[in-house]
């Protein structure tokens, strides 16, 4: 029982990281029906931005996190403008291939500056408590709470603000949106800024929990977060959060009770099986047919 509680806490930590990254995939898909396969690498860049900020400015955790979020958000907007926007009328496959290319570009650009894995300075004082046999670390709690806080904030923006309304409108039919006086390109840029900055935040938090970072760290985690988004229902924001926690839970529990090499096998099997029975994911809906 204590073991399960302990593992549940670990699952929440991993799940919240997956969920934060999954939000970036799902937001971009929602608005452009395109999978931004560079997103996992933006998560990696987020970790490196945090690392550089921590070394250069010696700032505490929160300002470092903000610097990384802003940096990755701006990078995300720039990538959309330079690489994706010219392909908006092109077949979606072209945009997806471009995204894969951008991802490889980011990995190799980072490799130019950091050819070796780097160890990230600890920005948070890590205190551990043992409560009824369960070990709880302050780092874990902070990661979980910060992630949940960012998710609540995002949910508020999307559901309650004018910008969020515009994002949802663009995801429904972006050809009509200009007739409302709403500039579509601005809404797309804001979506990229928010989605990618969440990935950046995840990168900083992840590198506090697992403090060795390298330019390829975003690949597998990016795939996992993408699975989370699909499991939850791609394009659906709450779905991405749920999917992230489900995947985090499954992975931790597999590693807890089975040989840990089964972890990815089970994760990808989950994706395959779920897609057979619920092709649109848990909260996803078939996209409306436009008449």
């Amino acid at each position: 029982m204590i073991y399960i509680l302990q593992q549940s806490l670990n699952a929440l930590q991993l799940g919240s990281i997956y969920a934060l990254i999954a939000l970036g995939y799902t937001m971009v898909y929602g608005i452009l029906t395109m999978i931004n396969f560079a997103h996992g690498d933006l998560f990696m860049v987020g970790a490196f931005f945090g690392f550089m900020a921590a070394l250069a400015f010696k700032l505490p955790f929160i300002p470092t996190l903000l610097i990384s979020m802003i940096g990755v958000g701006l990078l995300g907007v720039a990538i959309e403008r330079v690489a994706y926007k010219p392909l908006r009328q092109a077949p979606r496959v072209s945009a997806i291939i471009t995204a894969l290319g951008v991802g490889i570009f980011l990995e190799n650009l980072t490799l130019v500056f950091y050819p070796y894995p780097q160890s990230v300075p600890q920005l948070l004082q890590n205190i551990t408590w043992t409560i009824g046999g369960v070990t709880v670390s302050s780092l874990q709690i902070i990661i979980i709470l910060m992630s949940l806080g960012l998710m609540v904030l995002l949910d508020f923006i999307v559901r309650r603000t004018m910008v969020g309304m515009a994002m949802r409108a663009v995801s429904w039919d972006k050809t009509i949106v200009p007739l409302m006086g709403v500039p579509v390109n601005l809404v797309i840029s804001i979506t990229f800024a928010i989605g990618t900055s969440l990935g950046g935040a995840a990168g900083v938090m992840y590198s506090q929990a697992f403090p060795v970072i390298d330019p390829y760290m975003g690949i597998m985690i990016g795939w996992k977060a993408f699975i989370s988004a699909v499991v939850g229902g791609i394009g659906n924001i709450r779905g991405a959060m749920i999917g992230g926690f489900i995947l985090g839970g499954v992975e931790i529990m597999v590693a807890a009770f089975l040989p840990s090499t089964y972890r990815d096998f089970v994760a990808f099997t989950l994706l395959l099986v779920l897609l057979i029975f619920r092709p649109y994911g848990i909260l996803g809906q078939p996209r409306p047919q436009k008449v």
Partner: protein, 251 residues
């Protein structure tokens, strides 16, 4: 080619500047020429209708005015060219469009649809008045304000699309086939509303396949055939015109 050679039929004196002046408008989709150099005017306070068959270029003309498609020729609104104005700023200039097929955002509530149309407005107090105005014209929308608009009936969606255009407080409203897919009784309601909105001071440019209804409410009308204006006149004149009766009013 241009309507300049046709009777202008403007009821106004020659020195009045039209609210909207379209000159030699050409719009093509790839190699297909949809609008072949048309010119027409809309004066303040009028209901002007463009009638014509499917594919005549009516919707394309409206899309050009709203800045959704590139064109050559020129479109003047209140004496200023709209040529280089992006679509989202044309709404701010005072031209709202109710697009073909209504174009409501089905994943937004009724109220959110209305609210989105106020994006460019800064006059918070007047916005509250405009909700009231819209709900007075369409009480049904008030009843359903927190409902997802995708669950509305076709007629209600059309009301919402018109209400949304009103929320942008446009001086001029472009309506693209408001009668499409509606039962005859609802069509009559919608046309009554269009007349009411016009009486309250909005200039209307109406595109319709339902020529009979459109010509009855219109001050002036233009007939569009495969991208060219072939006839112009007052609504009454065209209702009586044998060519119009033959082609659009079932003889």
């Amino acid at each position: 080619m241009s309507a300049a050679s046709l009777p202008t039929s403007s009821p106004r004196s020659d020195d009045q500047i039209p609210l909207l002046a379209v000159r030699d408008l050409v719009i093509s989709y790839g190699n297909i020429l949809a609008v072949k150099g048309i010119s027409f005017d809309v004066y303040e306070g009028e209901i002007v209708t463009l009638i014509g068959a499917n594919g005549a270029g009516k919707s394309t003309t409206l899309r050009g005015i709203s800045g959704l498609v590139p064109y050559s020729g020129d479109i003047w609104y209140q004496g200023q060219s709209l040529r280089r104005v992006p679509a989202d700023q044309i709404v701010g200039r005072g031209i709202a469009q109710v697009p073909e097929g209504r174009g409501i955002f089905g994943n937004l509530t009724v109220l959110e649809n209305l609210k989105l149309a106020t994006w460019q407005r800064k006059d918070k107090g007047a916005i509250a008045d405009d909700y009231e105005r819209v709900f007075k014209i369409f009480p049904r929308l008030q009843e359903r304000q927190s409902q997802l608009s995708g669950t509305l009936s076709g007629g209600e969606q059309q009301m919402l699309a018109v209400g949304r255009a009103l929320m942008s407080r446009a001086k001029m409203m472009l309506l693209d086939e408001p009668s499409m897919g509606l039962a005859p009784v609802l069509v009559r309601d919608i046309f009554q509303v269009v007349q009411e909105i016009n009486r309250q001071g909005t200039t209307v440019l109406l595109v319709e396949q339902n020529a009979n209804m459109a010509l009855r409410v219109a001050s002036r009308a233009y007939v569009l055939e495969t991208g060219t204006i072939t006839l112009a006149g007052t609504g009454e004149e065209l209702l009586k015109d044998p060519r119009v009766r033959e082609a659009y009013l079932g003889g």
